[in-house]
């Protein structure tokens, strides 16, 4: 089971304040689907606004990135720059 960490804002809004979960998902697409199932409404927001960091590596347009069973996955706001 991968360790999933949401921002506290998302946790408050969708997950009753909880921000950490153990979820099994092979890739980011499936992970978002699993989260949407648990917390309806969170999926589109994750897709629209969030990057993910899988084991420290940030992906700005995550979709098919694989998630290992022991991975640590953070959802983060997307970053741009000047």
């Amino acid at each position: 089971m991968a360790r999933i960490i949401l921002t506290s804002g998302l946790g408050n809004q969708y997950a009753g304040g909880q921000t950490e979960f153990e979820i099994e998902a092979a890739n980011v697409r499936r992970l978002i689907a699993a989260l949407e199932e648990r917390f309806p409404g969170i999926g589109p927001e994750l897709e629209r606004e969030m990057a993910v960091a899988i084991d420290g590596e940030i992906y700005q347009d995550p979709f098919l990135e694989t998630i290992a069973p022991e991975s640590e996955v953070y959802f983060l706001p997307r970053i741009g720059g000047g």
Binding site: I5, Q60, G82
Partner: protein
């Protein structure tokens, strides 16, 4: 990829830029330099009010003026729905974007565009603007971020209900959203602290200050296809936004990026581009629209001004046990400021177990903010770096040592969550400490300050096409507008990869019809991401060259290696044939399968975070409050400098902008909510005589995700200066300045108050 002995031939050198000759002779064509036959002059009517209802707009008199060919208002734009798209950290809502291009219903800031005209010359266009009658009902306005958050503040948007709070409020507010970042337990952390320092700060809204005003030339044809030339950091972004706002297909709009006279984030969105298109469509003639400097200041994005507060707890040996911050950022008249990265970056350089950051994204009657170098980060890191300086003083610890004790390293969980990979923060601290500047003596009323900075850097989508000419020279096309010499870096990476002379690679910026989608030039991504596309295309060309050589020699491709710009027979065939140069193979391309070219389309992930540490010496005139920056040194981990001189230049330029932010730059509004200093006379960016030489030290801790180790460069150097200058002033006069800019009147007042 490298030559036999592993040495790099071009990477890290500073060859003369391929576009240089045109830039030093005046030949280079910037946004306002293009002229087309029959071209009209486009000009924009702007609101004189900070906040007003538009009761009516009557354009009939303007339309009747001889020489006027088109007048447009928001009614000419496609109808938009509130649709959010990710656009870096400052999100774009198409409805807001549309309303910012040409106001609909209300004007929300001084300078807000209301209507536009196209006429045969600029005098007629100006006269036409004066004939447009707009009936305004002036509304109360609010400029300051804290005042905008007050319960009785004038509300800009009746449909804005603060996001990020549960339950969603039922009363509209100027707070677009609240953001929270929390790691560990700050209360428990502070309980363990031997020393806690907290302080509030204010930073001014500052403009990117590029010297070239926005400019666009649009030409619509009768069949609905259009061409657009403009100075932009991202012509694919311009295409996307304009097509949406005009209801066009992407393929019907061809956007060419002209040379661009600076951007720094400010040219990542659209202002004039859709207006020029609308006018051209209506007039049936090409239209050129160019902003005046006043318009640039009044109506194009500055970055947020903010109110910030930081609180840090440390043990007596200097270990940070908790960090907390509250950040209130101006978004301008429409939602979305860089509050998210502001929150994420605040404590990012440090290994802190307990962090809590609260952010507010607040609208007020100011122009909508746009990205500016490391958006959001300089503001929040200024607060933290200033408080750290106070802590160092109170503990009697050297400020660089305090940072070393707490510096994030590979494997540290960043204050915004995930673990860092290989990073070079500690290396920048060590290099700063070892620099002769850090131990040089100081005179009376002089002081020295240090500060550090962090930025994520990004990758993203990029394309590159490499076409090999039959004479062996190459044209390298990318979709990344070149603001600071990136064509030189692209040519270097292609030449290095191919093992050929950099002068044989001619890099160009291709238009949107000639290359695949490429995300904009920003976020310090081009040398990293577009560079990866270039390297990828170069490798593909090498594969083709090996294949062609194999055909010519009639041996297997596996028996051909590519080395130092030559195909060489290898293995069993080694020495059997004379090595063939790229040119020799290219000359026979027609016979061996046709032209040699490659196209690479990637989404580059794995950008390497950047860190910098700056040292600043100042002298303060105790009688006038004037601050002179005596000496400045900027140390930065760049991963790998591809074009060394332009890397240094990026660092020097960023530092200079940060010094301007620290000392003199600010948006000044009068009581009516009008911008009082919309020009370079009173919006005071540093001039040559204000600055010393800016010494740079490039640290290279390779980013393992890039073939040459590149991290981004351009964002980080604007982050440390505000705190470095403030810390130096405190060191000189024993006064902590909390209100930016630290202009002479404020310093003199602070000296007099002894605060």
């Amino acid at each position: 990829m490298t030559s036999e002995n592993g040495e790099l031939k071009w990477v890290g050198k500073s060859p003369i830029r391929p576009d240089g000759a045109d830039k030093v002779t005046g030949r280079a064509k910037f946004g306002a330099d293009l002229m087309l036959p029959g071209m009209l002059v486009g000009k924009v009517l702007r609101s004189p009010h900070a906040h007003a209802k538009i009761k009516s707009i009557d354009t009939s008199k303007a339309e009747a003026l001889p020489g006027v060919k088109a007048v447009v208002t928001s009614a000419d734009m496609a109808e938009m729905q509130p649709e959010w798209v990710a656009a870096g950290e400052v999100q774009i809502n198409f409805l807001d974007l549309s309303n910012n291009i040409l106001a609909s219903g209300k004007v929300l800031y001084d300078g807000h565009a209301v209507a536009a005209v196209a006429a045969t010359n600029s005098a007629i266009a100006n006269a036409a603007l004066e004939l447009i009658e707009v009936d305004y009902e002036v509304l109360p306005h609010v400029i300051d971020v804290e005042e905008a958050m007050a319960p009785d503040a004038p509300i800009l948007h009746d449909d804005m209900f603060t996001q990020g709070v549960t339950p969603t409020p039922d009363k509209p507010s100027n707070v677009f959203k609240e953001v929270d970042i929390a790691v560990g337990d700050v209360e428990a952390g502070f309980a363990k602290a031997d020393l806690i320092v907290e302080r509030s700060f204010k930073t001014a809204a500052v403009h990117q200050g590029y010297i070239e005003p926005h400019a666009a030339v649009a030409s619509f044809s009768e069949d609905g296809q259009a061409e657009l030339w403009c100075c932009t950091q991202g012509h694919f972004t311009v295409r996307a936004y304009c097509a949406k706002l005009l209801g066009m297909d992407l393929s019907d709009l061809r956007v060419t990026a002209s040379e661009i006279g600076g951007g720094f984030g400010g040219k990542t969105t659209v202002y004039l581009e859709p207006v020029a298109l609308l006018l051209s469509r209506k007039a049936g003639r090409p239209v050129r629209a160019v902003m005046t400097r006043e318009e640039v200041f009044r109506a194009s994005g500055p970055t947020s001004g903010a109110s910030t507060w930081a609180k840090i707890g440390v043990t007596k040996d200097g270990k940070i046990v908790a960090g907390e911050a509250i950040l209130k950022y101006q978004a301008g008249a429409f939602a979305s400021s860089p509050i998210q990265p502001g929150c994420m970056c605040a404590f990012a350089p440090y290994d802190v177990e307990n962090v809590k950051v609260k952010g507010y994204d607040v609208v007020s009657n100011r122009p909508k903010v746009a990205a500016y170098r490391a958006p959001g980060a300089p503001i929040s890191e200024h607060a933290v770096e200033s408080v750290l300086d106070e802590i160092a003083k109170k503990l009697g610890i050297d400020p660089l040592e305090l940072r070393e004790k707490n510096a994030a390293k590979e494997g540290t969980n960043a204050a915004y969550g995930p673990k860092f990979g290989p990073i070079g923060f500690a290396d920048t601290l060590a290099a700063a400490k070892a620099h002769p500047h850090y131990s040089a003596p100081l005179g009376p009323n002089q002081g020295r300050g240090v500060a550090s900075g962090f930025w994520f850097n990004i990758g993203g989508e990029s394309c590159a096409t490499l076409n090999v000419g039959e004479d062996g020279t190459l044209v390298l096309a990318t979709g990344s507008p070149d603001i600071g010499g990136s064509r030189a870096s692209m040519a270097i990476m292609a030449a290095e990869t191919l093992g050929i002379d950099v002068a044989d690679v001619r890099p160009i910026v291709a238009d949107t019809a000639s290359l695949g989608y490429t995300f904009l030039t920003g976020g310090s991504r081009v040398t990293f991401a577009t560079g990866m596309a270039v390297i990828e295309a170069s490798k593909q060309v090498i594969e083709t060259l090996r294949e062609r050589a194999a055909k010519i020699w009639d041996i297997s491709i596996d028996a051909v290696i590519w080395e130092d710009g030559f195909a060489k027979p290898a293995g069993a065939n080694a020495g059997e044939f004379e090595p063939m140069s790229l040119g020799e193979i290219a000359a026979q391309a027609g016979k061996t399968g046709g032209p040699i070219s490659a196209n690479s389309s990637i989404n580059a992930e794995g950008a390497g975070p950047g860190f910098g540490t700056h040292i600043c010496d100042v002298e303060v005139d105790l009688e006038t409050g004037a601050v002179t920056v005596l000496r400045y040194t900027a140390v930065q981990d760049c991963g790998k400098a591809i074009h060394k001189a332009y890397v240094e230049g990026q660092i020097q330029g960023g530092a200079a902008q940060g010094i301007g932010w620290a000392l003199n730059e600010e948006y000044i509004y009068n009581d009516e909510g009008r911008l009082d200093n919309p020009g370079f006379l009173d919006y005071r960016i540093p001039v040559a005589s204000d600055l010393p030489m800016i010494d740079t030290v490039i640290v290279e801790v390779a980013n393992p995700n890039h073939p040459y180790g590149v991290r981004g460069v351009g964002e980080v150097p604007i982050i440390p200066p505000m705190a470095a200058v403030g810390n130096a002033i405190d060191s000189a006069i024993g006064v902590r300045m909390t209100d930016l800019p630290m202009s002479p009147p404020k310093i003199l007042a602070a000296l007099d108050n002894g605060s």
